[in-house]
C-alpha cells in the first residue's frame, strides 16, 4: 500500500499522538498520582516518626529505671526480714513501743498488677522525743540503699502525759516480687 505525503504525515501524527497517550496512561499518569499520594503521606509519616521517637525515648527511659530497680532488688540480701530489721533498729535507738500492738506487718499488691507487692510494717512508738524519731527515720533512710526500705507514712501526736514527748506511728515498706 502506497501512502501519499499527506497520508504519511497524518499517520505519523496519529502514531505520535497514540504513543504520547500510551506514555501518559502507562507512565506519567500513575507516576503523577503516586507522587501526589506520597506528597500527602510523607509529612504524616515524618510526624508519626517524631511521635514514635518521643514515645520510644520515654519507654526506654522508664524501662531502664525499672530495670535498675530490679537489679537493686536482686542485689538485696535474699533473707532480709523487715520486722527483724526494725526490731533491731528500735532497740538500738532505745525506743519504747506500744504495749498492746508494738508492730504489725501486712502485704499489699501494687496497683499495676501481679509483678510486685509491698510489705508494710507499722510501728507504734509511745512517749518518745521528736529527736529520737528523727534519728530512727534518718537511719532507715541511710540504710535504704541496702534494704530498699522506704518510710511510707508518719503519724505524730502529742503525748498526753509528757507534753514534750510524742506518740508516733510509722509505716516502713519494702518492695517484694509478687509470689
Amino acid at each position: 500500500m502506497r501512502l501519499n505525503k499527506r497520508e504519511r504525515n497524518m499517520a505519523m501524527l496519529l502514531g505520535i499522538f497514540l504513543g504520547g497517550w500510551l506514555l501518559y496512561t502507562a507512565v506519567v499518569g500513575p507516576a503523577s498520582a503516586r507522587a501526589a499520594t506520597l506528597q500527602r503521606v510523607i509529612p504524616e509519616k515524618a510526624q508519626s516518626l517524631e511521635i514514635l521517637k518521643a514515645k520510644c525515648n520515654e519507654y526506654v527511659s522508664l524501662n531502664n529505671q525499672i530495670s535498675k530497680l530490679k537489679t537493686k532488688m536482686a542485689e538485696r540480701k535474699v533473707n532480709f526480714n523487715l520486722m527483724r530489721y526494725l526490731e533491731v533498729l528500735t532497740a538500738h535507738h532505745n525506743l519504747t513501743t506500744q504495749q498492746q500492738k508494738p508492730m504489725t506487718t501486712a502485704t499489699y499488691p501494687l496497683d499495676n498488677g501481679t509483678t510486685w507487692q509491698e510489705q508494710i510494717a507499722t510501728i507504734n512508738f509511745t512517749n518518745i522525743t521528736v529527736k529520737q524519731m528523727i534519728e530512727f527515720l534518718t537511719e532507715v533512710k541511710a540504710d535504704s540503699d541496702q534494704t530498699n526500705a522506704q518510710t511510707k507514712a508518719v503519724q505524730i501526736e502529742k503525748n498526753s502525759t509528757t507534753p514534750n514527748n510524742i506518740n508516733a506511728t510509722l509505716q516502713i515498706a519494702i518492695l517484694q516480687p509478687a509470689r
Binding site: 506520597l38 522508664l62 522506704q150 508518719v154 503519724q155
Partner: protein, 481 residues
Amino acid sequence: MTKRCIGIDITQSHLHAVQIAQSGKNIQMEKSFSAPLPNNQEHSCQLLKSLAGEHGFDRRSAVAMAIPHQQLFFANINNQTTSSASPTAAREHFPIPSADIITLASSRHSLSKKIESALVTATSRKSLESQLNLSKKAQLKCEQVDAPVFALLAAIKFNHPEISKESAILIYTDSQQTILAATKNNDIRIARNLPSPEALNTEEKSAHLLIREIEITWRVAFGGKIPENSNVVLAGTITQSEHLQSAIQQELSCLVTNADLSLQIKTPNQDAIPPELTLASGLALRNLAPNETTGINLAKASTKKTPKSNVLTRQQVITACILLAAFFLAYTAATLVRKARMEYKNTQLKNRTQQLFAITLPNEPIVDELSQIETHLNAVRSEYASLQPYITNTEGPLDILKVITAHTPANLGINIMDINITDTTVKLTASCSSHGTPAAWGKILNELPIFESVDMKDPKRTTATGTITFTMNIKLKRDKL
C-alpha cells in the same frame, strides 16, 4: 465612451510605453515612446514622469506594467501533483521563500475528467513592490501588473485571432531575452524564458538552438513532434531576422507568421507599429479588455492578504510539534524524578521507623509501630508510677516534716498538736494565739515548691484557754506521668 490605458514595458535596457484608446471596437495607439534605460532607478522614475510631462501621455489613464520575464517563474500544476491546482498549494514548486512568494493561477484546462491543470505564475513580493513603487514615485496609476507572456498573447489575439485559437508557438525576442510560449484556445500552456538569439555568436547557432527549444516546448505542451503547418508566431526583434524565420520554416515545416500590431491597432499617421512595442501594446490591451484576454493581475494579488499568513508553514508545525514533544518529555522526566525522590524519602522514613521500633522492642513483630509502642508505653508507665517512690529520690515523710518545721517561724507561736504524713498528703492540727497566724503560716507553706496546695479548715477559738485551733490539709506535689 473612450477608455485609455498606458502600457509600459520596462526591460533591462529599454523602456517602451504606448497609450492606447478604445472606443467600441476601435482601438487606437495615441502615444508611443521608447528610450534606452539607464541602470539607475532614479533615472527610470524621471523617465516615467516625463511620459505625462514631456511626451503628452494622459496622466489620468490607467497604467499596465509587466514584471520582467526573468523575475517570473511558471509551473504547470495539476491536482495529481498537489492536493489541488491552487496557487497556494503550488508554492513549494518555486525557488522563492514562502514568506516572499506571490502566486497566481491562470490558463486552467482539464487533462482528463478528474485532473485539472493550471499554469501558475510566481514572483517575489520584492519584485512586485519594486514595480509598484516605481509607478507610485512616477505618479502613475498602476492598475495592472502582468507577465510579459500574457501581454504577448493579448497583442497576438487582438491582431491574429485566427492563430490564437489553435495550437501555436509564440516567440518574442528583444535584445536581452526570448519568451517562448505554447498556446491553445487563447490560453498559455507553457511559458519559457530563454536568452536572446542575439546573444549567441552566429545566426546558425541561434537558429539551431531556437528550433530545438520550439520542438521541446511543443512536446511538453502538446506531446509528440510538432506537426507540419503548425503556427509559429514571431514578435519583437525576431521579426527582423529573415534567416531565423526561414530556418524555422524549413526545419519545422511550420507556418511562420510575423505579428503585425497594425492590423487592429490604428496609429495617428497610419504608420507601422515598431515590433519592440508589442509587449507595451499587449499590456494596454490586457487592461482595456481583461475579459477578452488571458492573464494575471499581480497588482490585485499584492493587495490581497496572502493565505500564507493564516496557515502555519511546515517548519512552524514541525517546530511546534518538537516543542510540544520536548515539553511532554520534560514533564514526564520531571514527574518520574519527583516520584523517585519521594519514593526514596518514603522508604527512608519507613526504614527509620522500623529500625527505631526494632531497637526499642526487639522481639515485637511489626504491625503498627505507633499503636504497639503506645500499648507497651502505657504498661510501663503504670508500672513505673507504682514503683516511683522506690526509684526516684522523692521527698519522704522525714523530709516533709523537716521542711514544715523549718518553715514554722517561732514568732508565730504555732503549736503543732498532731501531724499525719503520707505519700501524697499532710494533715496537721495546730494551735496559736492569733487569728491571723494560720493564714500567714499557710501563705508561707503555700509558696514552697514541694507543696501543691495548702488548705486551712475550722480555725476555732477555745473559750477556756483563748487559743485558736485549726486543721491544715497539704497536698504534696508529685510528678505525674
